[in-house]
């Protein structure tokens, strides 16, 4: 097993603890993210996925039970260098307009590197690379107004702003919801490139089972603030009863596999993507 970047064990968290409005978001959540892998965190709405994600870059600190160790640092300790942590863990939120705040795209993407105190040419270079990576050509888009961009373009700009920090762990909090098929495929390709070419780890938070089946190598399932399943993707996504109890469905392919099993046809392997299913069906039907 490769190096663990983030380890979370038995974490609990209550918002506004002690007040009338207290809300327990996590009660026994655990998560592992290793270097150089694409992992997924899934769960029904309200399961606590976003809350858990906010611990990864120190937006929240463990004050109740549980332990969070990120890049070797225990986040419960007082003098954690949060700024440094946020350089290594880039968090992209669901709605791009929540993240963009500069008037021009170039300035917004440059914000992170500027905060790092990097020299101007390096900032410019990072911005250029990040924008090209997300498919927003540098010259064409750097002087466009952020809030005049289309939804899809804003999403890319927000992502570029985080990529410009060259994080080692990229966390995408439901960041592909609402993207069209081409847009989604481009993001997926980008994530795979980041992992393969630059060793970036990715944590995808989603409840789109098809997307998770396509992308992830390891999956953690959250239900009502608790981790109920974790493991390799084929392993986790074939446990339909446990997933149903957690308020989740199966990937489309998973449902096909299950229906076929009910009809007496068992497919080899544990296909969860269309490609795997096609291959498995071909093997079965050919013989």
């Amino acid at each position: 097993m490769s190096e663990a970047l983030v380890t979370i064990r038995h974490l609990s968290h209550t918002y506004l603890a002690g007040t009338l409005l207290a809300e327990e978001a996590l009660c026994d959540a655990s998560l592992d993210v290793a270097r150089g892998e694409i992992a997924a965190l899934i769960g029904a709405g309200g399961a606590g996925k976003s809350t858990l994600a906010h611990f990864l870059n120190g937006l929240l600190r463990p004050v109740e039970r549980g332990r969070v160790v990120a890049f070797g640092q225990d986040l419960a300790v007082h003098n954690v260098d949060l700024a440094a942590l946020r350089r290594r863990v880039g968090l992209v939120f669901q709605y791009p307009h929540q993240q963009l705040f500069e008037r021009f795209v170039g300035d917004d993407v440059a914000y992170g590197p500027c905060q790092l105190g990097l020299p101007r040419d390096e900032v410019r270079e990072r911005v250029r690379v990040a924008m090209e990576q997300v498919g927003l050509p540098f010259e064409a888009f750097k002087d466009r107004q952020t809030f005049a961009l289309s939804g899809g373009e804003q999403r890319r700009a927000a992502l570029a702003g985080v990529l410009a920090l060259r994080p080692e762990l990229l966390v995408l909090d439901e960041a592909t919801t609402g993207l069209d098929p081409r847009g989604r495929r481009e993001v997926h390709d980008l994530l795979r490139r980041l992992r393969d070419d630059e060793g970036v780890s990715v944590l995808v938070i989603s409840n789109d089972m098809d997307e998770v089946a396509e992308l992830a190598e390891r999956v953690t399932v959250l239900f009502e603030g608790r981790t109920v399943l974790a493991g390799e993707v084929h392993e986790v996504l074939s446990q339909h009863e446990a997933l149903a109890e957690a308020g989740l469905g199966l990937p489309t392919v998973g449902e096909v596999v299950r229906a076929l099993a009910d009809a007496g046809i068992t497919l080899p392997g544990r296909p969860i993507t269309a490609r795997e299913a096609e291959e498995a069906l071909w093997q079965t039907l050919r013989s």
């Binding site: 709405g45 939804g151 269309a274 096609e278 039907l285």
Partner: protein, 291 residues
């Protein structure tokens, strides 16, 4: 329903002729969105309009109820032209529209007041209002939620509430502008099932989406690209052109993609399969043939 429901006539419900639209962004500067779109929507039809982001599908939706008037060409709803200010109220009561983000459509903090908003605007008499509200809530499966605060509803329930708000106006047609895009898979399934029920009850449905599995329940599909109609046909016909769809930024839904791959390898019996259910049945049949 009641005496206040408008009478329905037969024939085409909506017709567009050489419809073009561009957005004005400044002096002499315009963003083209639709080019020469001519289509008809029959009464009682279930039509899906798909396209990648930027293809013009939302713009097209907004011309169908007169929120946008064409820069060229015309749109007629039940014989009335959307440029006619005197007819616009009736047009919008005939063609109801539900948008993508339920939060930005919900005005009130009480469910039943929210649903009543539409018919109140139409001047429906007070006695009939209560009945309209109750029927609409029942139709979308939110009966009994009348006094709740919409803020406490789940995303799927809010989406259904938005639909109820439009149904209460007793429209002939429901246009859904990517109304399922922000929903989780289970909520999306609920909404699609609801649309099927409404369609079975006689409502014309126009679903705007880029999620390809949502075109399957439709009777007809129109694919837009850069403001023009690029493909048209039944779901089966449209999904039978995967290379064309790919070029248009779309993709086959998983079951159809698998079937197509297998058919290409020689298993002709699987050609034309669209849904997971059909795939399972076809595979069982194909396996049953073999010893």
């Amino acid at each position: 329903m009641d005496d206040t429901t408008p009478q329905r006539s037969a024939g085409d419900l909506i017709r567009t002729a050489h419809l073009s639209y561009h957005y004005d962004v400044g002096p002499g500067d315009a963003i083209p969105a639709l080019h020469d779109v001519s289509l008809t929507v029959r009464r009682g039809e279930y039509l899906a309009i798909v396209g990648q982001n930027g293809s013009g599908k939302s713009t097209l939706a907004r011309t169908l109820n007169g929120l946008l008037t064409p820069t060229e060409g015309d749109v007629w709803v039940d014989g009335a032209n959307t440029r006619d200010p005197a007819a616009i109220l009736n047009i919008r009561a005939t063609v109801g529209m539900v948008f993508q983000n339920p939060d930005n459509q919900i005005i009130s903090t009480v469910v039943e007041e929210e649903v009543a908003f539409g018919p109140e605007n139409l001047g429906v008499p007070q006695e009939a209002l209560r009945m309209r509200v109750d029927h609409a809530l029942r139709d979308v499966g939110l009966a009994g939620f009348g006094r709740r605060d919409p803020h406490t509803l789940s995303a799927g329930q809010k989406a259904r509430l938005a639909i109820a708000g439009v149904l209460a106006m007793a429209p002939d047609c429901l246009v859904l502008d990517e109304s399922t895009a922000l929903l989780d898979p289970l909520a999306r399934r609920d909404v699609l099932r609801l649309l099927g029920e409404l369609h079975a009850g006689g409502l014309t449905i126009i679903a705007i989406t880029h999620l390809m599995d949502e075109i399957i329940p439709a009777e007809r599909v129109i694919v837009l690209d850069a403001g023009r109609i690029a493909l048209e046909g039944t779901p089966r016909e449209v999904l039978g052109r995967p290379e064309a769809l790919e070029a248009l930024g779309l993709a086959l839904p998983p079951a159809a993609a698998i079937a197509r791959g297998l058919a290409a390898r020689g298993l002709g019996a699987l050609a034309g399969v669209l849904t997971p259910g059909e795939l399972v049945r076809a595979v069982v049949a194909a396996a049953g043939v073999r010893p």
